[in-house]
């Protein structure tokens, strides 16, 4: 591997890692904090992409301007999903919730299929399409932006969960529902907010990705497995862990891609995942055994 290839791969890996991170941050909130294994996360992201897509196509709104729009829309949808369905199974065993979210995924995806048709769609944003060139190295603008937004979301959410009263209430509700009720937390409402937030972050991920890849109703599948891996790698519920985990996966995938032939780079990320878990069973930040 030449030095150029190494460094360029590193750059690409970090940027792609930022994308995995932002996906994982939303999931770690829902999965790690609420204990819901949310298969529908990818589908929610997909909806976020469509919001941005339609805003751009129909109204010419820049993807970064429609970002709040998709976040709010998905926040509402997330809260409704929590209220309509998940609320009823919060006490059920994990595997039930898992299947429910699987069902939700099918519903969302196929509704999108019916409404939007299965066509692949993409947008071309003039000011984003030029890459930043530094000598021989290139940096994709939308990915760079996604990287920084992802990092900011991670830090904000970390602060929010650790320091704010609402954040503590979210963790408390996840930890002990009865306890939460007894200190006056409206745990139902907290759960709407939490799931809504998770969905909103998925939407942000989607909006950020809209200028990068083509969208279709089943695009969520591309990310969901890797996102789960990142979340576990970072430690369940650990927002900063999810961010770093995303970077690790992104970088190792890119470097392995440069080093090996075939699609063995996919192999590498899973092997790294298994190895990290063996040595740090609670994720990279979870404290080793």
């Amino acid at each position: 591997m030449s030095l150029w290839l190494f460094i360029q791969s590193l750059i690409d890996g970090l940027l792609m890692g930022g994308i995995y991170s932002i996906m994982a941050i939303g999931l770690t909130l829902i999965f790690g904090v609420m204990g819901i294994i949310n298969f529908a996360q990818g589908a929610l992201m997909m909806l976020g992409m469509y919001v941005t897509y339609w805003a751009f196509t129909l109204a010419g709104i820049d993807p970064y301007l429609s970002l709040p729009l998709s976040a709010i829309a998905l926040f509402i949808l997330g809260a409704l999903i929590q209220k309509g369905v998940l609320e009823r199974v919060m006490d059920a065993p994990d595997h039930n919730i898992l299947l429910i979210t699987f069902g939700i995924m099918m519903i969302i995806e196929n509704t999108a299929l019916v409404l939007f048709s299965p066509d692949f769609r993409s947008i071309t944003v003039p000011w984003l399409s030029e890459t930043i060139k530094m000598g021989d190295y290139v940096v994709s603008k939308p990915k760079l932006i996604a990287f920084f937004i992802s990092m900011s979301v991670a830090l904000l959410l970390y602060w929010f969960l650790q320091k704010s009263y609402l954040g503590k209430a979210i963790r408390g509700t996840a930890n002990n529902k009865i306890g939460a009720a007894l200190v006056g937390i409206k745990s139902k409402r907290i759960n709407y907010i939490t799931f809504g937030l998770g969905a909103a972050i998925a939407a942000i991920a989607g909006s950020l990705m809209t200028p990068i890849i083509s969208i279709s109703p089943s695009i969520g599948h591309t990310f969901i497995l890797k996102t789960f891996v990142v979340v576990v790698l970072g430690g369940l519920g650990n927002v900063l862990g999810a961010f770093v985990g995303g970077l690790i996966i992104g970088v190792s995938e890119a470097l392995a891609g440069a080093a090996f032939s075939g699609t063995l780079n996919e192999l590498v990320i899973y092997v790294i995942f298994v190895l990290i878990l063996i040595f740090r069973p609670k994720g990279i930040f979870g404290g080793g055994s």
């Binding site: 009263y165 503590k168 209430a169 963790r171 408390g172 930890n175 002990n176 009865i178 306890g179 939460a180 009720a181 007894l182 200190v183 006056g184 937390i185 409206k186 745990s187 139902k188």
Partner: protein, 234 residues
């Protein structure tokens, strides 16, 4: 202050409470006694809105709170230190106490109340950063009581607060209860430490198989032969 009338409730299909009526007046300490499985905890859970009442009413400060959600009840100042503690075990001592003061009114006095709790249980101050789940049983019980106090209760319900506490601490907790009561907070207490509990309660109720079978002032109850036989082992 608290008035429970003809309360019936239970779990799933199984009825536990049958026509429970009891009352706590302003500033009183009232003990609820009864054997294992008599339905004491169930009564308290129903009052706090953790389980549904099948029939009957609960009034708190003349507001009907039957089957209101727990947070509604908590916001009105009816606070429970529950059986099994129900702590946020993954969170630190400090975070548990902060969440104790979750209601807006309690949040205002957070600092002051925190100091009060640390005075009461100095060990908690030393361990503010310890995840509660790793604490000893007794220490957890302290956190549970402290969390209850953080909520600024008007009526404090304690479900066996002395569980797991050393005799010395039990003594202290009972002293604290008396002290709290002096500040005008009413207390509804479930205790197996019957003799001690009655020694500082104003009145008491005895629950058996989900029904109140006896009630009276503490002195009356302590003098009752049946009660002494059934609960004091003499």
């Amino acid at each position: 202050m608290l008035k429970v009338e003809n309360l019936q409730s239970g779990y799933g299909q199984i009825q536990v409470l049958r026509d429970v009526s009891l009352e706590v007046k302003e500033g009183e300490i009232v003990s609820l006694l009864g054997a294992n499985g008599a339905g004491k905890t169930t009564t308290l859970r129903t009052i706090s809105g953790l389980i549904k009442a099948w029939s009957g009413t609960v009034k708190f400060n003349d507001v009907l709170i039957t089957n209101e959600p727990p947070d509604f009840i908590v916001r009105r100042g009816l606070i429970q230190v529950p059986e099994g503690r129900q702590l946020f075990t993954d969170m630190t001592v400090l975070e548990n106490l902060e969440l104790g003061a979750y209601t807006p009114s309690a949040r205002k006095n957070l600092k002051k109340n925190l100091e009060y709790c640390f005075e009461l249980f100095p060990i908690l101050k030393e361990r503010i950063k310890q995840p509660v789940g790793t604490m000893s049983g007794g220490q957890q019980q302290m956190v549970a009581i402290a969390r209850g106090l953080m909520s600024e209760p008007k009526l404090l319900i304690l479900d066996e607060p002395s569980i797991g506490l050393s005799p010395l601490l039990t003594e202290q907790v009972f002293d604290t209860i008396k002290e709290i009561s002096k500040t005008g907070i009413s207390i509804l207490l479930v205790e197996q430490n019957v003799e001690q509990a009655l020694s500082f309660s104003d009145r008491g109720y005895v629950l058996e198989n989900g029904s109140i079978v006896l009630e009276g002032t503490s002195d009356e109850l302590l003098a009752n032969e049946d009660l002494r036989k059934a609960y004091l082992g003499m």
